[in-house]
């Protein structure tokens, strides 16, 4: 069977080569002079991006084609990358390159033996131009598989400049200052924070930022792997800190009850909509997209952000995520695929999408000038400055039953905590019970 497939692939390649030669010979001398290394090869790339993101990624692929001569085929997987790509692999028709949106999927694919290690040239780029943490997140069981091309920054507190101005408050640098600033804002008649409690996941992001800053990256990694329990003193301390904010009716618009009836778009609208109901909203860089896209307000003027402040003497946290490019083991055009990854590792490729907006690159070598506006530039710089202090979203690293399910696990328990922030120990115990069940399964 394997032989047969190899033979078919060989025949196909020969056929392609023949056509390439045919094309070459029929072309003029000028064509031959600019012959590109991958002329006639085709790389298929699967990713979850649709709409604007797909269009922008296509620009990157087009730039790759222009440079190398390889043709590219984009396959949109929709939200469920692992199911779609998994079935394509098992059906014997794998794409060459896949953009992995979640760390869990990358690990799952690597452990199933579906991925090819990064070529040395790609790895060289990675070690040279990226913080070590990105190589770590691309490594599974000691082998480097993933190249992070696009990053997300989830440690940004967005605020309405006019609201903070009215209250006479400057963006705070520590969590205690944040609480004080929040109370001053609330005195001026506008609740400080709009919290998207109905959605659940923003609550996990709140917790993760506090935990990363207060307990430090080492504990964060341990908690992500469930090597320390959720009843650990560091977790209790982080919940206590979070409770200081959630438990203060002046700081949370509508109090805990109101927050539990606010979903994510509403929480952004509460700050930047036409009838402001709060001054600040915490969530990732994508808040900017909601502000400019749905609310038609100007990011940088009507909406600005400050980095999530440091908690209790720790460093300011930078939590986020990323999309990693991987080459599949059964890819039909492995060399071209590795060349594509090599290209994606360059600042040149990042620059293409960065200029179009809605993109952050973990690549240190990308010049800040590549970003289209000041706000994005700031987020990008904060991401690069965090270097190895950057951490992936903790709930994304946990099993879905615990960290990613509406109405159960961490989401539900933090919602209960938002309703009753005094119950720190009970919440920690229930979190541990839910985590123990989910990590076991």
């Amino acid at each position: 069977m394997r032989f047969l497939r190899t033979a078919t692939a060989l025949a196909a390649t020969l056929g392609l080569a023949a056509t390439a030669t045919a094309c070459g010979s029929s072309g003029t001398a000028a064509d031959n002079a600019t012959a590109k290394p991958l002329d006639g090869q085709t790389v298929s790339v699967a990713a979850a991006w649709t709409g604007v993101e797909q269009k922008n990624f296509q620009k990157v692929l087009d730039a790759f084609s222009a440079k190398t001569g390889a043709k590219t085929v984009y396959i949109s997987t929709g939200d469920n990358v692992s199911t779609l790509v998994g079935s394509k692999i098992e059906g014997g028709d794998p794409p060459d390159v896949v953009m992995m949106p979640q760390l869990g999927v990358l690990q799952q694919f690597a452990r199933k033996g579906w991925l090819a290690p990064l070529a040395p040239a790609v790895a060289d780029h990675l070690h040279q131009d990226f913080a070590k943490i990105w190589a770590d997140y691309g490594t599974v069981d000691g082998t480097l598989y993933g190249l992070y091309f696009k990053a997300a920054h989830k440690s940004t507190v967005w605020y309405s400049p006019s609201a903070l101005e009215t209250a006479g408050v400057k963006p705070p640098a520590t969590f205690d200052e944040l609480l004080t600033a929040g109370r001053t804002v609330s005195d001026s008649g506008l609740p400080a924070f709009s919290v998207a409690g109905e959605a659940g996941w923003p609550l996990t992001d709140w917790f993760e930022n506090i935990y990363l800053s207060q307990a430090g990256p080492e504990n964060y990694d341990k908690l992500a792997k469930h090597q320390i329990p959720w009843t650990d003193p560091t977790v209790v301390a982080a919940l206590t800190t979070l409770g200081k904010l959630f438990g203060d009716p002046q700081l949370v618009a509508g109090g805990g009850k109101g927050a539990l009836q606010t979903d994510f778009p509403e929480s952004v609208q509460a700050v930047f909509g036409d009838k402001p109901a709060a001054a600040m909203v915490y969530e990732g860089d994508f808040v900017g997209a909601v502000v400019s896209g749905e609310l038609k307000k100007k990011v940088g003027e009507d909406a600005r952000f400050f980095p999530f402040p440091a908690v209790g003497g720790g460093k300011p946290p930078v939590v986020g995520g990323g999309d990693a490019a991987v080459v599949l083991k059964d890819a039909k055009h492995k060399d071209a695929a590795q060349r594509l990854l090599e290209y994606l590792a360059t600042p040149e490729a990042a620059e293409v999408w960065a200029g179009a907006g809605g993109f952050l690159s973990p690549n240190k070598a990308l010049k800040p000038a590549a970003y289209p506006d000041e706000t994005t530039r700031q987020t990008a710089q904060s991401l690069i400055a965090a270097a190895d202090g950057f951490r992936f979203d903790l709930s994304d690293q946990a099993p879905a039953a615990f960290g990613g399910t509406q109405g159960s696990g961490e989401w539900k328990l933090l919602q209960d905590f938002l309703a009753n922030p005094a119950d720190v120990n009970g919440t920690a115990q229930r979190l541990e019970a839910a985590a123990a069940a989910a990590y076991k399964g």
Binding site: T166, S188, G189, K257, T405, G407, S408, A419
Partner: protein, 435 residues
């Protein structure tokens, strides 16, 4: 002998039975593949763990009964079965009887039946909006707030609170100063209101004179907020008084005088030389925001309401059909004997309709057991567990993140066991009626 041409022999009978079996085979095979096999496999699967490889015996059933969420789902399913079918049948009966008597009965029937044409998903999304807490969006709360505000108007300064350091908030929510001596001036700095939302009549506040001419208690209530900062606790230039606040003078806890603040926030109690100045809580209470339909307490009744809205039309049509077939003579006879309409309805119509009502009720019970979509769509994330029913729980633990198809199968088997009695009842009734 109706079939004289066919000789009766055992061989022929056997052949006939064989032929019947051949004809039945496709149906049987389908039934076996699509119904019996899945049921059997579910029972088997329910004895294994999440991965499907480890045998756990009745462990999944034990886990189901130890899990709070599943117990809540069981309780809610019981509430559903007890309430929803009875409500649907009752309403259907009322509609059916009433539409017989009104002129536009058919149009009315059409209207009540219309929700049946809407998918559960769409109906769920509609009701999610109807029940929304924000009166700007939820029509039910818009009505509730409108009614409430007609009788009890909004407080003048919702959310206002004293600046820490000044007069404090008493346990009953009112803002109270310490007891004042003769002629003392009281300043009450309040915060938590947007300067832009003050009434147009508000004038800049002035510091009250140290003592009034007549020695009475007097003072100023003002908004201690200056855009861009200001000195907390002091009347900065430009800070305005709060007009229209009710102020009481308490003596030993009893109100001895009441007044309201003027445009610059000042108030005075002429002739009263001592007491405690008290701003009642009604000045600051949060505005009425309606009822938390989708809160943990009301969410199940709310979803049942949506269900009744959809199915009442179906019940009405079936019952109206039964009603049309009723013999009229008994009704006429009762009328002749002088029975009232209510008596006729209770003693004649309902007993005669009993078989139809039974069918509707049992059909609804079976239908309610598998209710899933309405609960899934209407209940917001934070209360999904409080609203959970068995079918929803089944899906959640097997596919919706739980990924434990062993436990899911156990719940499926449980659900089957609960539905079977209702099924048996319905089949029996069906047999009786066809006989």
């Amino acid at each position: 002998m109706r079939t004289p041409t066919r000789p009766r022999s055992s061989g022929a009978a056997l052949r006939r039975r064989g032929l019947a079996l051949v004809f039945l085979l496709p149906a049987l095979a389908l039934l076996g593949a699509l119904v019996l096999y899945p049921i059997g496999w579910s029972v088997v699967r329910s004895l294994f763990d999440a991965s499907g490889s480890g045998f756990v015996g009745l462990g999944n059933y034990r886990a189901a009964f130890a899990d709070d969420a599943t117990l809540t789902a069981l309780r809610n399913s019981a509430i559903w079965v007890a309430v929803a079918p009875a409500l649907v049948t009752g309403l259907g009966l009322v509609f059916a009887v009433l539409t017989e008597k009104v002129r536009w009965g058919t149009a009315f029937k059409l209207l009540v039946f219309m929700p049946m044409a809407i998918s559960f998903l769409a109906a769920g999304i509609t009701f999610r909006l109807v029940y929304e807490q924000d009166p700007q969006r939820g029509v039910l709360n818009a009505a509730a707030v409108a009614v409430h505000d007609t009788f009890d108007p909004d407080p003048s300064y919702p959310g206002a609170r004293p600046r820490p350091g000044g007069p404090a908030t008493a346990p009953d929510g009112s803002v109270r100063t310490a007891a004042t001596g003769p002629g003392t001036a009281v300043t009450v700095p309040l915060v938590g209101i947007k300067p832009a939302t003050l009434p147009a009549a508000a004038r800049p506040a002035a510091a009250p004179a140290a003592s009034a001419a007549d020695g009475g208690v007097h003072g100023t209530v003002y908004l201690d907020v200056t855009p861009g900062g200001g000195t907390p606790g002091a009347i900065d230039p430009g800070e305005r008084g709060l007009p229209g606040i009710t102020v009481r003078l308490l003596d030993d806890g009893r109100a001895v005088a009441t007044t309201t603040t003027a445009a610059d926030g000042s108030f005075r109690f002429p002739g009263r030389t001592s007491g405690t100045v008290d701003l009642p809580a009604a000045n600051f209470a949060a505005p009425y925001r309606g009822i938390a339909w989708l809160g943990p307490g009301l969410v199940t009744p709310a979803v049942i309401g949506a269900y009744v809205w959809i199915w009442a039309g179906f019940a009405m049509v079936v019952i109206a059909g039964g009603l049309a077939n009723l013999p009229r003579e008994t009704l006429e006879a009762a009328r002749m004997d002088g029975a009232g309409e209510w008596q006729i309805f209770r003693r004649i119509t309902v007993p005669q309709l009993a078989p139809v009502l039974g069918v509707v009720l049992v059909t609804m019970v079976i239908n309610v057991m598998k209710i899933f979509d309405l609960v899934f769509v209407i209940a917001p994330g934070p209360v999904q567990q409080d609203a959970g029913v068995l079918a929803l729980r089944l899906w959640l633990v097997s596919f919706g993140g739980g990924n434990d198809q062993g436990l899911g199968s156990a719940l499926g088997v449980l659900l089957l066991l609960l539905v079977v009695p209702a099924m048996v009842l319905n089949i029996r009734r069906f047999r009786r009626s066809t006989r």
